[in-house]
Amino acid sequence: MIKVENLVKKYGNVTALNHLNCRFETGKVTVILGGSGSGKSTLLRQLTGLEKPDSGSVYFDGVNLTTANKKKLYGIRRKMGMLFQGSALFNYLNIFENIAFPLREHTKIADNIIKTIVTMKLEMVGLRGTEKLMPSQLSGGMMKRVGLARAMVMDPKIIFYDEPTSGLDPISTGVIDKLIKDLNQALNITSVVVSHDMESCFRIADNIMILFFGDIIAEGTVEEIRNSKDLRVKQFINGEPEGPIPFTRTDKNYLDEILFR
């Protein structure tokens, strides 16, 4: 479904993505894992065409997103849904209008049918009855569920999730995880999840990819990752503070720095 070839993205002198090659398969849940600053959100922005890479290509169903013009890109985007980290609901529209928004913009569906569709999507995320509320009146977990309802209202073939469970309580996390899995199994929606939540990752993933400062250090099925012999992977999935992945960001020697050498 999505094929990434030799993708490079730099911000100033910092290389966020370093010649990445990977695939995201149709009908599977692929979780991109990585610590903060590992380039996983950057990768997501390239996969959706929100940003252009410095070099390399991203193919979506055979179409190269990096060279597609705006019209083509917008055509492809109609097959994509995205759940943003902060939900990105429109603060001037109520919950109903937020979810109905893509339908109103892109289709000529009659009002009563829109109402039916929105009600169905709200039922899927368990939030029927909140139609008249404004986004600011909802909790973070509820906003994410509304965001998910909006992301799937156009029945996309693929949904991108940017840290869907970060900052949520365990129950909300469980609900979101179950929704991702259900959507994938019931509707065969391909899912790409960016996360650093190990537990939730093992619950939902078919395939896992671990990023480390712009490089893919491991990829494979859940079992393969769990049994990986790679010390960096082990450190990451067990959340160990000591290991081959350094915690500090600087190369300077600590002793040198505090002694002004």
Binding site: L50, R78, M82, F84, A88, N91, H106
Partner: protein, 255 residues
């Protein structure tokens, strides 16, 4: 050498921002003429920039007219020319004070709100969200604002002119006893359509200026709380200054 280099860098940087804002304006105005047209959004923006500014414009206009009435009476009576009060009030309001003060009030009220709104949309990822739904953020968010500004400002200015002249009438005729016929009659004779066209043209330009600068500042704001508050301040300052400068340029071109 160092100074020259940094000077060049700053100049280049500023020019780049100017160029980007030009492209930004072009894209949002240009796209306003392409379908789909979102009339409800335009109406909503006109309501926000235009109708909701009525009260503030009314008060500003009334007191400006009244002050002009007193000051004009004082100056003109030194030459025994009180009868020309109507002409003086009307000319200064229609040609100058109407468009400029109206634009400044709208900047303070609507311009700052536009910058803050767009900045917050940026912080909360609403622009990429629009992008992901295959909707052009410039066309959806910015174009209606710019068009609404161009429509609202001339109307507000016309309203300002009317109320201002009435304010001058109130003070001049009712309070200070200038002859009513002289106040109105001479005014009608002296004001030409060129004066009125000039004022309207100015207000068109100001309408564009306000919405353009405030939207651009919001759109390019650093996506943090401080970034948005800084952008809002900058937008108001920059818009107000540009209004005064553009006013001078237009006045000298139109005379």
């Amino acid at each position: 050498m160092e100074i020259a280099a940094s000077l060049g860098r700053i100049t280049l940087n500023r020019l780049q921002i100017l160029g980007r804002s030009g492209i930004f304006l072009f894209m949002s105005v240009f796209q306003a003429f392409l379908p789909p047209f979102r009339i409800p959004r335009l109406v909503k923006e006109i309501e926000f920039i235009g109708s909701k500014s009525f009260l503030i414009v009314f008060v500003t206009a009334l007191f400006t007219g009244m002050v002009l009435g007193i000051q004009g009476y004082y100056s003109l009576s030194q030459f025994g020319a009180e009868a020309a009060l109507g002409v003086m009030v009307a000319l200064s309001i229609i040609r100058e004070l109407g468009p400029v003060l109206c634009a400044l009030m709208v900047t303070g009220r609507a311009g700052s709100a536009i910058t803050a709104e767009i900045g917050i949309m940026k912080i909360t990822d609403q622009f990429p969200a629009l992008e992901m739904m295959a909707i052009d953020p410039l066309k959806y968010v910015i174009s209606p604002k710019v068009v609404a500004g161009i429509i609202s400002l001339p109307l507000l200015t016309a309203f300002f002119d009317l109320v201002g002249i009435a304010g001058g009438y109130l003070v001049g005729v009712k309070l200070l006893g200038v002859n009513e016929g002289a106040y109105l009659g001479k005014m009608v004779k002296a004001i030409t359509f060129t004066d009125i066209h000039g004022g309207i043209l100015k207000s068109l330009c100001f309408g564009l200026l306000i919405t353009w600068i405030s939207s651009f500042m919001g759109f390019t704001a650093e996506p943090t709380t401080e970034g948005v508050s800084r952008a809002t301040t900058n937008a108001v300052v920059l818009t107000s200054l540009s209004i005064l400068i553009v006013d001078y340029i237009l006045t000298s071109l139109l005379l």
